[in-house]
Structure formats: C-alpha cells, structure tokens
C-alpha cells in the first residue's frame, strides 16, 4: 500500500513542481511587463 501512495504522491509532486515553475515564470514576465510600461 505504501508503494501505491508513493507512486500517486510522486505523480502529483512532479505535476505540482512544474505548475509552480510556470507560476514563477508568469510572475517574472508580469514584472517585466510592468517595468516596460514605466
């Protein structure tokens, strides 16, 4: 059972990490857009 949960948790950690990278990328682009407007 532990292996089953480990596999499911690993899957969501991988997807979550990638989504967090995308969010960080988006906030960086927004900052750059703000500085361009100034």
């Amino acid at each position: 059972m532990n292996y089953l949960y480990a596999a499911y948790v690993a899957t969501w950690v991988i997807h979550g990490t990638y989504l967090a990278i995308l969010v960080r990328k988006y906030s960086k682009i927004r900052q750059e857009m703000e500085s361009l407007k100034k």
Binding site: M1, A7, I14, Y18, L22, M33, L36
Partner: protein
C-alpha cells in the same frame, strides 16, 4: 477564450478527482499483485499522454522546418516540455511499481532502457532550447525532435515484438484486461489528456507573452541606444 479555459480547468479538476476515486476505490483489486497494481492507472495513461505529446512535437517540428512558422515552433517547445513532465511521471511510477512486484527498482530491459533514452533525448531538446542563444536553435531543436520521435514507436512496440521483463500490452497485442479495469484506465487517460491540454494551453500563452516582452525589451534598448 478565457471562458473556454475556465471550463476546461473545471472539467479537468472534476475528471481528475473522479479518476482518482475510480483508481483507488472503485477499480477491482488485482489477484496476484494486490493494491500496488493500481499504480498502473497513473503509469500507463501518463505514458500514452507523453507519447501523444511527443507525436504532436514531431508534427509541429516538421511544419516548422517546412514553413518556418513561429506558432509551430512554440507548439513544438510546449509539447516537448509537457511531454517530459508526463515521461518523468512514467520514469518515477515504474520503479515504484517494480520494487514490490519484481523485487528490484530498475533493470536494463529493452522497454525501460528505450524509455530512459526517450526521456534523455527530450531533456536534451529542452536544454538546447533553454541555453543555446544561436538564431539557428529552433531549426536544430526541430531536427533533434524528429530524431527523438523515432524512439517513440520503438518504445511502444518493444513489448509487442521482443521478449522483455516489462508486462505485455494491456490493450491489443494479445493482452487481456478486466473490462472494469479498462474502464478506469480510460477515465484516467481522459483526465490526463485534459490536464495535458490545459497545461499546454497555459504554457503556449506564457511563451507567446515571453516572446512579446523580449521583443519589446529589444525595441526599447534599441530606441535608448539611438537617443
């Protein structure tokens, strides 16, 4: 467009929750492996999704090489990136399943080795796109993607034509799967396809925005230089 995205996000969240319930609770327990077999409901759909994304990457790369279309180039980049994420899930869940079932985390079996090679090719593709500053990078990346895509059918059919330690194909190729298990498998694949679509859509918009900002920054520095 914004409404379509929100609808897709809601559908994906609902489908993923339902698929998780089906995989962990509703699906019948396999007789020999027990509950650990349920890893299959995440492992196999992730592999199919990665293959599909690499196939789209191949088509987009060919279109880019023929037409030099920027949108095709962005689509190739996005599908490779999301494909690597799904392939990473496959590479992580496979050994977690293998340890209790085979007694080992990894073996240099044909299917496993070819999947590792596939993952490495697309990671190299992303490294090339991230760190190369040459104007020829999209062309080089498109050529690499075409070679990389050749590995996809090798990975897929390796368990059809060769005797490997990896289990036989579950659908087609003489494999037999309980219809209730096949139903749960397809629900999970549908959920992962929606997730892949949603993430690709987000990443595509982000890449377009990033390129626009880069162009604007280049223009601004050009204007400042001419003053």
């Amino acid at each position: 467009m914004k409404r379509g995205f929100s609808i897709l996000a809601i559908v994906t969240a609902l489908l993923l929750s339902f698929a998780l319930y089906e995989a962990l609770i509703a699906a019948p327990t396999e007789r020999t492996m027990g509950d650990v077999q349920r890893i299959f409901y995440y492992h196999v759909p992730s592999a199919w999704t990665a293959f599909l994304l690499f196939l789209i990457n191949f088509v987009a790369s060919v279109v880019f090489l023929i037409r030099r279309d920027t949108k095709a180039d962005i689509l190739a980049l996005v599908t490779a990136e999301v494909g690597v994420v799904f392939c990473t899930v496959v590479m992580a869940t496979g050994p977690i399943w293998a340890r209790p079932v085979w007694g080992i985390w990894w073996t240099w079996d044909l299917r496993l080795t070819l999947t590792l090679v596939l993952w490495l090719i697309y990671v190299s593709y992303l490294v090339l796109r991230r760190f190369s500053t040459s104007s020829q990078t999209p062309v080089l990346a498109a050529v690499l993607a075409i070679f990389g895509a050749l590995d996809v059918p090798l990975v897929y059919f390796s368990i059809w034509f060769f005797r490997t330690q990896h289990p036989s194909p579950v659908i087609g190729g003489g494999g037999s799967l309980d219809p209730r298990m096949a139903h749960v498998l397809l629900i999970n694949w549908a959920a992962f396809l929606c997730l892949a679509w949603l993430v690709c859509w987000t990443r595509f918009r982000l890449e377009v925005l990033e390129r626009e900002v880069e162009e604007a920054q280049a223009l601004e520095s050009l204007l400042e230089g001419s003053r």
